[in-house]
Symmetry: C2
Subunit: 205 residues, 2 copies
Amino acid sequence: MPSAEVPDIVVGRLPIYLRALAFMAAAGQEITSSHELGQKLGISSAQIRKDLSHFGEFGKQGTGYRISHLQEQIKRILKVSQEWEVALIGIGDLGHAVARYNGFKNRGFHIALLFDNDPAKIGTRLGDLEVLDAARLKETLAERQIKIVMIATPAGDAQSVADTCIEAGVKAILNYAPISLTAPEGVRVQHLDPVAYLQWMTYYL
Amino acid sequence: MPSAEVPDIVVGRLPIYLRALAFMAAAGQEITSSHELGQKLGISSAQIRKDLSHFGEFGKQGTGYRISHLQEQIKRILKVSQEWEVALIGIGDLGHAVARYNGFKNRGFHIALLFDNDPAKIGTRLGDLEVLDAARLKETLAERQIKIVMIATPAGDAQSVADTCIEAGVKAILNYAPISLTAPEGVRVQHLDPVAYLQWMTYYL
């Protein structure tokens, strides 16, 4: 792993910074500061400066950050200057919603493959894509050299689907199923967990 | 706000600790350590001890944490020892998936109300609940004293729905729509953003 010395939680904050910068840019703003970013995100400005200092110098003391430049640099660090092909497995309600989610655009990802194991769904189309047979998941992911998948299957299927993806060479799994997935070293798993966000907010109620 | 001196990012890590503890407990484990928790989560053990020290003493030096005790204490801190009634607005694909998500159970939340503005959906049932008319959102939330909502409407409707909820007394909004919501001071908004998780993982690819 490159830059193994950067703490993982610091890496995890970069996408949050990037999202806040994108909102500012969309509103026409050109310059920001660690102070302003921090206020928007509930993070101290010192923490933001310290996080960014792991990766270089992005602004001058007293003049703040040029938003477009900082966006480019963070995209480069996170390797999302390019677009990654992502496979989505499980085309139920949630899978449908994920496939149609228009928040992926211009943020480094493109859903390129859909899979399900339900004969009633296989061969149907969702937008530009055909739902493929999950029986051919491993071969198809390997052929297309897919490194990133999103799993939106029922909880009971999620681990075996993850195992198959990993055998095919997948290195990053975003898990929507309400279950903890295990993966060998070298494979990252993130759990999209709405309850963690709800619990974060109830603290303040 | 109570304990305003605890940094918000520390509060945000407590649900992650709680989730990891629940997984350990479900596997029959009784004791853990900041070292083990840290390894599972990619956070340093010093950070975990420091985070927890904001709230008191939860383990003895050298003997680790009793998992059930630490779970109870974190639940108390996050105010999820009780169950909160949550309203879900927007019963499209995503709303359906959220309504059926069985990851809320025993974690402090209970979906109590569903709303949509589509006449074809209003009055239909989803599980135990009837889909209510979003035209009566404000009155119903106020009557039921709902403090927490999840918004799964199209992006274009999300801000006006949020505004209505806030007028009704809602203090915590989990936003599934791919748009940044603004809210006045005293109202928390969290954005469930799959791309932030994907970008966190591509760093390591």
